[in-house]
Amino acid sequence: MNIMLDSNPTKTDKNTIEKIIGYAPTPDMPIIIERKTTKDVTIKNTYDITTTKGILRIETYNNEYYQFFKNNIEKFEGLNIQWTDKNTVNFGTFPVNSDVTRKQFDYESYDVLFGLSGFDKSQGVIIFVKKGYIGNNGLEKGVFGKVVKGKHLLFEMESSDKIIKIEKRQVRSEIFDYKIVTSGNELVQENDHIITKVVVDLDENCPYTCEHFLFLTANGIFEITESLNTYCKNASLKGVTLPNEQTKLRSKGSLSVRISGKEEGCVYIYFNDSIEDKTHTVFGNVIKGLELLQQLKPKQKTKISSSIMRINTLGLTQLQAEKLVKKSGIEHIRVGNASDDAIIIRQDPELTLDAIKKNSIATEGVDPKNVFKVQLYEDVAPNTVRYFKIITGLKTRALGRLSVIFAHEEVDMILFTGDTKLGGDLIPENHPTNIVKAGDIGVTNMASRQKGTVGVRFNDNDEYGPTGEDFSHTNIVAHIENIGALSSIKDNDTIYLLLDG
């Protein structure tokens, strides 16, 4: 049978989802089937009356006067303006088979009705009311419609104008049903459109924001944190600060990142046109699969991809970096320690889009013994781990770094730069009770003035924490195994961290 698979026409002799797409969707990661039903949708008996001055669109009421209008449209095409006055524009003439009356009626602006010229039944006219008035038009109040578009044209009409054509507005509207599929057994029908993934296009004017998105979707998955009628959102990278690269209309399908406020760093995908805002950078748009996103609920995921592969070599060896960069087709230059097992601490350009534009990337390596593996205590100190990842850069990079502010051969600890402002949110958690172990990385919490400071000790201590504070003022966030290797560190040095595991 003929079906569509992610917008590609496909012929298949298989009949279940699993057999067609090669895997079974799950409740966590569903797909959708789009089925078309086509209807002629008439929009409220609306007519476009083309005149020599432009198109008047009228909405009609369901009454006997409308029936007369509907059944005699060809008689009204070609009618000239008989007269205009301050309240009306009158097209005619044609015979009318109704009783004449001299009663007065109250007409509203933009009413459309039938009347008579000179109370003569052979001189029927179609009247467009410019301005509401009380008067008589020779017939009963024969209002059958209202002008909804082109009202300004009534004030421009002249005696030489006429009605050229009258057409009923009809829209052939494609209406779709969407079926969410959470298992592989679902049967597929002829002409079904199976949507399994989302494909996006990224804007090269937003290199920082695109890098943020590429990091978020490095594993090819987008998870929904919040889903509304206007947008869906992922909050995994909440807290990351980005520059404002582009303020633009958030049209349907737009990708944006919030760049200020509590929700900064969150990625949004819009389902409706929304006006631009300085708090959002628009950095791309969805080209396939928006309908799938609209059906997902919080905690559900979908496959997502773009034409750009992230080039991030931090934390890799020079050899691993060479293989990665080769896939993207751009030039690779080794600098610093160029040996195969040197760990990369810096790449130039830093951002993927800049590297693609330059068509080249230089990776600076260091001896692996200068890079330290850390184990983060995510379960027992989640808030402090979140802080630690932000200040080291591990939130968005595989390689983090800490700057030394104090190190002395006679002092048992090293202190690193923190962030006093972010440290204000560090509620006490996972503080030591009897002893602090050598290699435990601690952060001063909000109980102390030096909140946010990071430190580590070379030896166990049963009095003070890794930052020299009381145990109650210290949160233990991570552990470095080979602490002895830090003994030669001096003030203003930088140490590099890789996540263990």
Partner: protein, 299 residues
């Protein structure tokens, strides 16, 4: 179409409301902090209002619709004498302001006696600059009938208020008329509510009509662009740009600011391309009337 709302709640975590409004494509119009409480007036298109209301409830606040928040209403008094002003013109004005309206009291003062109420061309144009008009008359039915004939020519939606409980017009609210004091009793407040409901009904028709042939950019969006590009927010009192249903009033001198206003960038075009900009008949302010899609040559 944008509608106007107000968040009333505490200052604690009110930034979450503001962020949500921005995320939903709304516009924060005004913030009024009062010690530990704050009122945030904003404009939003409907789809996720319920979600915003849930957040407000979580923060122990509330979101109310202010149906006249994007309108300027004229309250017309037949004269400046003590029997027409201040009551109940002030009560009507204050009541509508609670629902977001910007109100102007227009006191007519031509002639003498009953003929003091003369709506000539200039008074008509002044009243028609508003989105709606409330005519506040006195106690005598024959007087009200005379005055009603004069108002027939007004093209903007209007309501007539007077003392007699019934009059032979559709758009009439009785039991107001000449009053010696403020309208405080339950019955009087109920009358004002009735006035508000009638006005809402009339305005709804106008809104529907605009929605069928809207301007490409909503007045609230234009207001934001004007305030940012002309740098007038917070410098000329609370409300230098007043919203109308299909335009705005800018409280700046026409001769000095006309060109700057024409040049304000809106998308890829300027405000001058999207509107008719004229001098108001009121107080040397500037009227911007946004052109509809069909007036701009669109479908």
């Amino acid at each position: 179409m944008f509608k106007m709302y107000v968040f009333k709640g505490g200052t604690y975590r009110h930034d979450e409301i503001i962020e949500k409004i921005e995320d939903l494509g709304g516009i924060v119009m005004q913030k009024t902090p009062m010690q530990t409480e704050i009122d945030i007036t904003f404009a939003l298109q409907a789809p996720d209002l319920d979600n915003l209301k849930e957040l407000a409830k979580k923060l122990k606040g509330d979101i109310l619709e202010i149906p006249f928040g994007d309108m300027e209403i004229a309250i017309v008094s037949p004269s400046l004498s003590r029997h027409h002003l201040p009551h109940p013109v002030c009560d009507i004005s204050e009541f509508l302001r609670r629902y977001g309206a910007t109100t102007n009291i227009v006191g007519l003062a031509r002639g003498y006696g009953k003929t003091i109420f003369q709506i000539k061309d200039i008074e008509k144009k002044m009243i028609e600059e508003h989105d709606a008009a409330i005519f506040s008359y006195g106690l005598f039915s024959d007087c009200i009938v005379l005055k009603e004939k004069e108002t027939k020519e007004i093209s903007t939606s209007y309501i007539i208020c007077g003392g007699p409980s019934k009059m032979p017009f559709d758009n009439y609210i009785g039991n107001i008329g000449r009053k010696g004091g403020r309208m405080r009793s339950a019955a009087e407040i109920a009358t004002l509510e009735e006035l508000k409901e009638m006005l809402l009904e009339k305005i709804e028709k106008t809104r529907e009509s605009i929605e069928k042939d809207p301007p490409p950019y909503a007045p609230v969006y234009i207001k934001r662009a004007l305030e940012e590009q002309l740098g007038i927010k917070g410098t000329l009192g609370d409300n230098p740009v007043v919203l109308h249903l299909n335009g705005l009033r800018i409280k700046l001198p026409y001769n000095i600011y006309y060109n700057k206003i024409c040049d304000v960038k809106i998308g890829n075009v300027t405000l001058g391309d999207l509107s008719r900009i004229n001098k108001s008949y009121m107080n040397d302010t500037i009227l911007v009337r946004l052109l509809s899609e069909s007036e701009l040559g669109g479908e």
